[in-house]
């Protein structure tokens, strides 16, 4: 079964899904000074949603994008078996920190997103929260597609959300050799990763449902590969990444030569970027130069659990509009990225038909998705 994407919505430091895509195409960055104690945390910048510092931020953003995506898809939740799978890196741990340190209110079930989803989608037949680091929403995508293929739901909303925690910022501050001012994927002058915030939701449905209702297919999800490096707790491992790409291609029944756009994970770190570039070059072989390669973390930061679906939505928009945003912050590619067709400088007009989306997380969790034009 190849599920259709029937709706999506996102919220980033640059706005909603369409505002974010327009800003990406214009080459705008959402980076700003971190709205926390930078000396305590050792981090100076982030891609935060600065207009909103009340509690339960990720929960409220998630509710908003789930509602938006369901509305965009045009489904009636009361007459449809809708399941929801949420991928997150940090859950509501920001609020747990404020509960422990400042005495703010917190209830145990607030750690996950069941209630947040049910606040806007009370009819949901099932809500799952998966905490799979920076690959989380990509894992949600795969599991959502499996639920559809198993006939357990008529539609699945797959989503991702995260807001920053003090603990993760401090861990990054401790581990970073330099204090980064922006994310520069695949660039020789990269300074390291910065966190981004936001939420994203995508609706998957069988193509037949859309045809029956006369609703448009926005894109097709050809396959998703899931692997784990089982190698290192925080560092990526090129063989594991390459294996994940191959698994995605195999499940989708496509060859790398058919892929004309790659939304790379591209975190602007010494650990990810060379490893990802090597894996792409190895798996694509001679076809690597034919695909455009871009990434979005220079503009919206590393949105953690939401990252995979944020990139997937941009891939769908690029296919729809025939324009591929450039990698913001990329001036001089690292040597490993030499064979890659990186989009550098300004957005390019192109007509991609099949895109690969990469996301890799702490613990060696990998996801690679293939999304294509509605044929």
């Amino acid at each position: 079964m190849i599920p259709a994407i029937s709706g999506f919505e996102a919220l980033t430091c640059l706005g909603d899904a369409e505002q974010t895509f327009q800003a990406l195409c214009r080459g705008e960055s959402g980076v700003s000074p971190l709205q926390r104690d930078t000396e305590q945390l050792g981090v100076d910048y982030a891609y935060e949603i600065t207009a909103d510092f009340q509690g339960r931020r990720a929960s409220r953003w998630l509710a908003r994008v789930v509602q938006g995506a369901v509305k965009a898809a045009g489904i009636d939740p009361a007459a449809t078996r809708v399941a929801v799978v949420v991928g997150t890196g940090l859950r509501e741990l920001p609020d747990a920190e404020w509960w422990w340190v400042d005495g703010d209110s917190m209830n145990l079930p607030d750690l996950h997103f069941g209630a947040a989803v049910r606040s806007v989608l009370p009819e949901a037949i099932e809500v799952l929260t998966i905490s799979n680091a920076c690959a989380a929403s990509g894992y949600a995508l795969a599991l959502g597609a499996d639920m559809l293929a198993a006939g357990e739901a008529d539609a699945v909303v797959v989503a991702g959300c995260d807001s920053v925690t003090d603990s993760m910022l401090a861990v990054m501050g401790r581990g970073s050799p330099v204090r980064s001012t922006s994310v520069r994927p695949f660039d020789t002058q990269r300074e390291g990763v910065l966190l981004g915030e936001g939420a994203v939701a995508v609706v998957l449905e069988p193509q037949e449902r859309l045809a029956r209702d006369g609703r448009p297919v926005l894109a097709l999800l050809h396959g998703v590969g899931l692997t784990c490096d089982a190698f290192h707790e925080t560092a990526p491992h090129p063989p594991g990444i390459a294996q994940c790409m191959r698994e995605a291609h195999q499940r989708a029944g496509i060859s790398p030569a058919e892929i004309d756009l790659v939304l790379a994970h591209g975190t602007g770190t010494a650990l990810n970027d060379p490893a990802e570039a090597d894996a792409l070059a190895e798996v694509f072989g001679p076809a690597i130069g034919q695909a455009l390669v871009t990434g979005i973390k220079g503009a919206i930061g590393h949105t953690s659990g939401g990252a995979a679906l944020m990139a997937l939505v941009v891939a769908v928009q690029a296919i729809r509009d025939g324009i591929v945003p450039a990698v913001l912050g990329l001036a001089e590619p690292i040597p490993e990225a030499g064979p890659l067709g990186l989009v550098c400088g300004a957005a390019v007009e192109s007509r991609p038909q099949l895109a690969q989306v990469d996301a890799f997380g702490f613990g060696g969790v990998n996801v690679v998705a293939l999304v294509g034009a509605a044929s």
Binding site: N107, N132, L143, D146, G151, D166, C228
Partner: protein, 336 residues
Amino acid sequence: MTPYPLSDSIDQSTPIAVLSYAVHVPGADSWATGGAAIDGEPMCSAEEAQSVLGRKGLLFKEPATRLAMCAVQRALGLPPGRPAGPLPLADRTAVIVSSNLGNLQTVCSIAAAVRVSDFHVVSPLETPNASSNVIASTIAIRFGFTGPNIMLCNGATSGLDAVRLGARLLRAGRAERVVVVGAEPEDEVAQALAKSRDPRTSPDRGVPALRAAASCVVLGRADSPAFAEGTALLGAGGVLPPGSAVDQILPTDFRGLMFVPYGLSPRVPAADGDQDRVVDLTERLGETYGALGVLQVAAAAARLTSGEGTDQAYAACGDAIEGYAWLSLHAGTVTT
């Protein structure tokens, strides 16, 4: 290696078996675990985990992670110590862990320490623990499992959700074997948050204290080489939203073995003379939250394969605020 079945849809009738299981609940006896533990088994505490896992690789590993690794080690039937070489099927083994509170103490402690000092107080060795998927990835690294690696943090229903998800991964051809784990700690931060639960989750009884516990069930397709006749098979399962009535959660005409959510056992009439037909593991152990569903499935597998004659089991976990998950199991003679 078996090729992926790249079929168009996922066949829900593919039988899924519990190939092996182990519970690891320090200080519990067999009765308290619903028969899943054997009295005299070495269910060591998290601090003593080296007796099961060996000395190496335990530095900065949180209690829930240690207990989870002990449960996996024992469910796989491995001798004490780190596995010497690659395990069979490791590249086709998926890991699903259900836990909600495993890294809460680390996260809150780092946040508190940074507030009074700065980021220099954080040990780089704590870094993996700031990410909520640390238990699942630690198991993958220790045992070399390179299949899908999933951390489910879905609250009170998470344990049975994880088992159902494991069955779906197998049916989708994403793995040949799935190691499903439930694990929760009982540290002071987790205890404090557990106390915040809505009292409606356990009317008339008060909110029970957390009990550190882990459980592992290994799932495979019932046509796998590791399948033995008589092994417990998974049946139907599902979820029910918050506010569901007791007779929706627990089937009224069911006469088999029943594992019930906390506080619901008095609502089920026990069969004559069989006090052990209806089992409330929370009543026996304390609150095991995200681990409960996996403990229930291990106990159900133990009873279904014990030769006592029980051939049907039903498990439900969850509460009135978060909703419920349920799963039926039966002693397996496969007819495929």
